[in-house]
Point group: D2
Chain length 459, copies 4
């Protein structure tokens, strides 16, 4: 597949050992990770490559594969624990021949999560992954195995937003991260570039000033997206959830509040997911600070989002979020006080600080959605449906477009069968189309190149 | 069941929170621990009571139950993680109303292990617990969950020996522990009194002198024995294996060498188990330092053991152990050099330092043995069998006597049906009978009271 | 003194306790710090104010005093150790009413150093501060008391350069800091803004990626300069040396290599100081990596410096430094390999890693220079003198201009008696004048406002 | 001096490096420690030998010198800090050729304290060591330099008592130490054998059970006594005070309460010192828990002490101590509640937790007493004197006998001039004589051999 014009990029072979030595694998787990027949080894290879090309500016999931066609990874057990052998690995992950420590840690996280997923969520695991409780339990199990369930005071802010944003917007995300960090808040993102990286960078400087050493920069990803959104090595806790729905559930059960920066379809998917849940009667009393924010230039962007949400989910939806323009300090103060309310609520309701058990997530939002052409065409986007049901389908619509844009399998489908068709009520479709067009114009769909839509809105 | 003559012992009610906060449970796990219908809650209650009466001088598994009839324990999830509520708990676990920190840690270990066992090894867990590999994998999983798989240099000495030993023998175990501790070795025992406690005490003083702060005093127990052998709070890593066979496997896969002090039937069971395995052709090359030792007065004891082993397992067995009398420093030096060979072997064979994968353990030694009268009567104790097969049955014979002596279920069986009958070759039976009589005479069977044999040897 | 037009800035009153609790003062030490009669309290007040206004963009030493006229600080001993009481302190040092932890640490460092200096270097201390060895011993004592003598591998890079630099230059210092940080190098600067802050910021991000938690961002200052160059709270080790000469000695004995970014007269003073020492016969064999570097636009700047050094100190001087333009990675690699040579040399010569005892510093460079008009006028700036003697006088000339520019006492002298006159050989004076004019034109003298020279070069 | 009959004991040569690497010495400090002309090197050699023979059963200060005549120690500075070179060092400090880590730490403490004392308290140090405040300041300085001033909650119990005690008494001191340790209390003693070692051993086991890892086992000694009372390697903080009076001041300013076990003249000296101070009007309100305790057999011992104190210091003295017989738990509870009162008092009076500034110690108790025959003969032991003055002289009398018993210089004086004569009021002398005779009979004067009194009481 490597085109002849691609220059041979420098590579490195290396053996890597975990420093902390916390993770030990069984013989069986190692064997499964080596098993090429099950696709597990290929998955490991792709996730590892994503981690090793962290910092690259591409969001093309195939780019890394093409640039490093001979890359391979093997996991083995040695006297002191796991060893990772890399062959033809991207030199960009190394400094003077030594792997960047943060990258090495991410590699070990990849191995840990894939080993867990294969065995604990595999076909013969004995879990019921078709019930809502069973899925939530699996999410809990994965996060616990990744040592993310941390019985400290609530302080985790999830930051959502585009991977492809303007310089101005990027600087703004750093400023917000800085103000959050000054207030002792930790950051969790989808761990790609842009709005997923800026808040962590800003927080790093603030945490240094506040002498916070046990900081958490959590990245939550999934196998389909990791290749397009390489984790930054500032991420010091990475977890790979098995699919996009479990990733979304991890965000909302782990985070104590969420900030949304400007973004594209992925961000829209996340907003719809969260609001769809928060609008459920069962969640009416659950506090969940949610702030949409960006620099001055982003004001029209959020107006459009706001309008779309009012139209589709109704005015009630607006009570669940606050829009703040160009004021990082205000964002951080609002978030800090919102999280204080979360803390009180959890104590009152004997809920844990580290996992939001109280939040009711309907099975509709948990069941994996496979964005085939057929599934996309049968989404039911009409007014009159219950807000959370409509939100669930809108979420799926955006999720499908993300897949068509940057996920390998989705892109293959579009190449084979042309754009997805999305049907629905004319007014709603007009509004949706307007939103998507704006994303395209503002270059939020893809980082580089001319954007060719993978969808067609049909009123 | 409380007889009228038992005085009311002082009790305490308390809420206990984990300090490290490492362990978090899911809602499902907490629910199972509360479930009285499955017997899980009763098991939790009994294990917790054993931990709380640590230091008591009884090996009667029912004593604690009778002394603290109103004791109860409940586990719940709070904002920062697990909480344990104790009602009518033995005051002896508290100092001025505050629980001894080490006891609290053991309680949390009990909860952690029972939660894991119920779910990970439960009926619907998807594991194959009938194959040798499946059992070994379960042992690995339990030890990993208990954070015992530690990728450091080999330094773990398992100490076996009686819970009921003489003052002289006890002081000697402390001296050996002290010499081991001076050499940077950690201690693992079955975590009861006597020879299971002395080495830890001695090592504690030596570790303090050597400024070793991350020491490991590991106790490995199982639900049937914990009530008779309460873990000492010096134990800083406790693990409750589901049955005696997994407990024995944990000892030999985790330890890097084993010291045997004088003991009774339990110790004999352990010796037979280990030699039965080491005599397998597959294990001929696996180094495994094994030392029998005691003070001068214990010399005849080890002579008799030695004679019994020669008779039953053959002369070859003697090449696998060394007898050292009254020389703690020599014991420690031999063990240290033996462990250095283990280290080299593991490196050469790419085996882990923290789990002895290389050791072949036949299913015969892994399959749980339920000591019914029938099972005991059908043991095949004859010369001419393969050494490891005979060892397996001898191990079962001793195991049954342990159960009849100090395990609640075994004692009930004896009360109902009289002593077990053990059949076999006359000479072998004579030798066995002699050994058992010596145990009785030396008061190694039970700590207190007149011993009434729970077995009858039939030539 | 507060002019009517200065708006009242927000202030905060606060009690501050040290977190680590490492430093305890005696009753006597506390009493001396409170003593207004000796000027010690005023010195404490000024240094504390500098720390509290960290991040302000002014280099006017009187600005903070005027903006916060009612600020006061008191030190007392409490049950758990020192307490600092602040009255009317700048609100900018606080986040939502809580002091920034890094600022609090700097305050405690100020107290610690002033207490040490008063007592250990006071009039009745018994030290000989007139001998070269006595001065070096005092420098050692201060650095040890500040816990800066750290027996780890050599990795400390001193970064010198201007406090008033262009945006481009600032970004470049961050990039160099980032590359140094990736290679595990720590940063030491004069702890003001500009080139003293950029490398620390860059290194912070790199250290986060490399998971280096015990990083050192050392700031070395002195009472005369601290008000004009407020320490940034990223600085996690601050030491206040008693005068500029001991500060310079601290840099060269503590650092394992030095990078010089573009700067003004202060930077020139530092270059002359270091080259003057390195050109001594006694130091010919002592390795000392020294790199001048800046972005492309800074190339002419370094050409001019280079020319001036050749003219004044001779061609030999050029063998002691390397100029690298616009290549942060190369700078870091050169520094890393230079420090490896330093390491080898120290081992060979049994010199400590943490204090460069081998370096010979003549008393001429150690004796405090008070830049009076008379002292400035009698500097002997002629060719033909021994290079290190001429370097010593040139160093003094630049030092005097720094004082006239940004130090309170120097500014007062200039206001009272007009500019300093600097005499010397015509060609050398022309070159010096050219250099100074360039500094003025490039706005390197002062951060804000029109620069009025505090000197006159007289050929 | 080595008598021909002394067998050559095994010795070891070794280079030792500090592990924590906290202490760095200047070139000057190293030079002074090497200086044989000043006696400093000999002092270092003797103290080091005491530390290396820790655990030996002798209290003869010359024994170690005679057994290891070729022992030498040198201190040097290396790349990473201090190095200690030992030649012909006692093999008993090593395990399989490796020095016991605790012993190595004590060696570094010896070097640190002697370096500090020489320089900071030397002739040219600028301190006023003739005033009460000056002496207290020196004590503070030494303790701070030894990192003993620790801003934690009050929890330090000083245990005084004999180095030569019965097995029963020794076991009792361990039990008391165990009960103190269970309650989170740390131990400080004079760091010899007997009652100075037992409480630390007991506390070590209790601290392990309570999972207290940052425990403090502080030993306070002085050059004259260290040879007779080798520090046990459980001691993890050793400080060598310059003389017996500063050692006593260190005990009472550092400790939060004091327990007195049975002992001999040294213990009597300590009791007189403390009561003399506590009986001062100025200290009437200062809380200071003081408990005399021992096993049942020690009851008569304390009765005799009690009687002696009533006779000499008056009934008032008895209000300052409590006698508890054979009840370790009660001792620990009383101490814990006494320390809670100390804590409240310190907070109220803004006194530090870590140094008892409030306690008034008259110069009389601080000025070094040199026990010459003349000085001993002129002590004024008569009723009618102010209690604290009489206490001061009684303290000196006991101090002189200690010197005559076990300090090298004192023993030399006795050998040269015969026993000290102690004069005084007949009744008081009878009582004193009775007390001393009892010490002799109970074998409290010396560990081994027939005791030949070094004093004569003259009514």
């Amino acid at each position: 597949m490597t085109a002849p014009h691609i220059p041979a990029l420098p590579t490195v072979d290396a053996h890597i050992y975990p420093r902390g030595g916390l993770d030990v694998l069984s013989r069986d787990e190692v064997a499964r990770l080596r098993d090429v027949s099950t696709g597990m080894h290929d998955l490991l290879r792709r996730c590892a490559l994503a981690v090793l090309t962290s910092g690259s500016t591409s969001d093309d999931p195939r780019a890394a594969q093409e640039l490093y066609p001979h890359f391979d990874i093997q996991v083995s057990q040695q006297d002191r624990g796991m060893r990772i052998d890399l062959a033809n690995a991207p030199a960009m992950a190394f400094v003077d021949g030594e792997i960047i420590r943060g990258v090495a840690e991410l590699l070990f996280a990849v191995v840990r999560d894939l080993a867990y997923t294969t065995i604990e969520l595999g076909a013969d695991c004995g879990r019921d992954l078709s019930s809502s409780d069973g899925i939530t339990d699996a999410v809990f199990g994965l996060l616990r195995n990744a040592r993310l369930l941390h019985p400290a005071d609530p302080n985790l802010v999830v930051c959502w937003g585009g991977h492809s944003i303007s310089r101005d917007e990027y600087v703004y995300t750093k400023q917000v991260g800085y103000e959050l960090g000054l207030r002792g808040l930790d950051i969790c993102t989808g761990c790609g570039p842009g709005a997923m990286k800026g808040p962590m960078k800003g927080a790093t400087i603030a945490h240094a000033k506040q002498r916070r050493h046990r900081t958490r920069y959590i990245g939550i990803t999934e196998p389909g997206i990791i290749a397009a959104e390489s984790p930054n090595p500032i991420v010091n806790h990475l977890v790979i959830m098995p699919d996009i729905e479990k990733r979304l559930e991890a965000f909302v059960r782990l985070g104590h509040g969420i900030i949304v920066f400007p973004g594209g379809v992925g961000t829209a998917e996340e907003i719809l997911y969260l609001l769809g849940i928060l609008l459920r009667e069962e969640n009416a009393q659950v506090p969940f600070p949610l702030i949409f924010t960006g620099p001055t230039a982003a004001a029209p962007y959020f107006e459009q989002i706001d309008k779309f949400l009012r139209l589709t989910l109704g005015e009630a939806a607006t009570s669940r979020y606050e829009i703040v323009i160009a004021d990082p300090e205000k964002v951080a103060k609002l978030m800090a006080s919102g999280i204080r309310r979360v803390r009180e609520y959890r104590i009152q309701h004997k809920d844990s600080f580290f996992f939001n058990w109280s939040l009711h997530i309907p099975l509709d939002f948990q069941r994996p959605f496979a964005p085939t052409h057929e599934a996309m065409a049968t989404l039911d986007l009409r007014p009159g449906r219950k807000p959370h049901e409509l939100a669930a389908d809108l979420r799926r619509a955006f999720s499908g477009i993300v897949a068509g844009n940057v996920k390998e399998e989705g892109m293959r489908r579009i190449e084979a069968h042309g754009p997805f068709e999305i049907h629905g009520d004319p007014e709603m479709m007009r509004s949706l189309d307007g939103l998507l067009r704006a994303f395209v114009e503002q270059r939020r769909m893809k980082i580089a190149g001319e954007y060719r839509p993978c969808y067609r809105v049909v009123a």
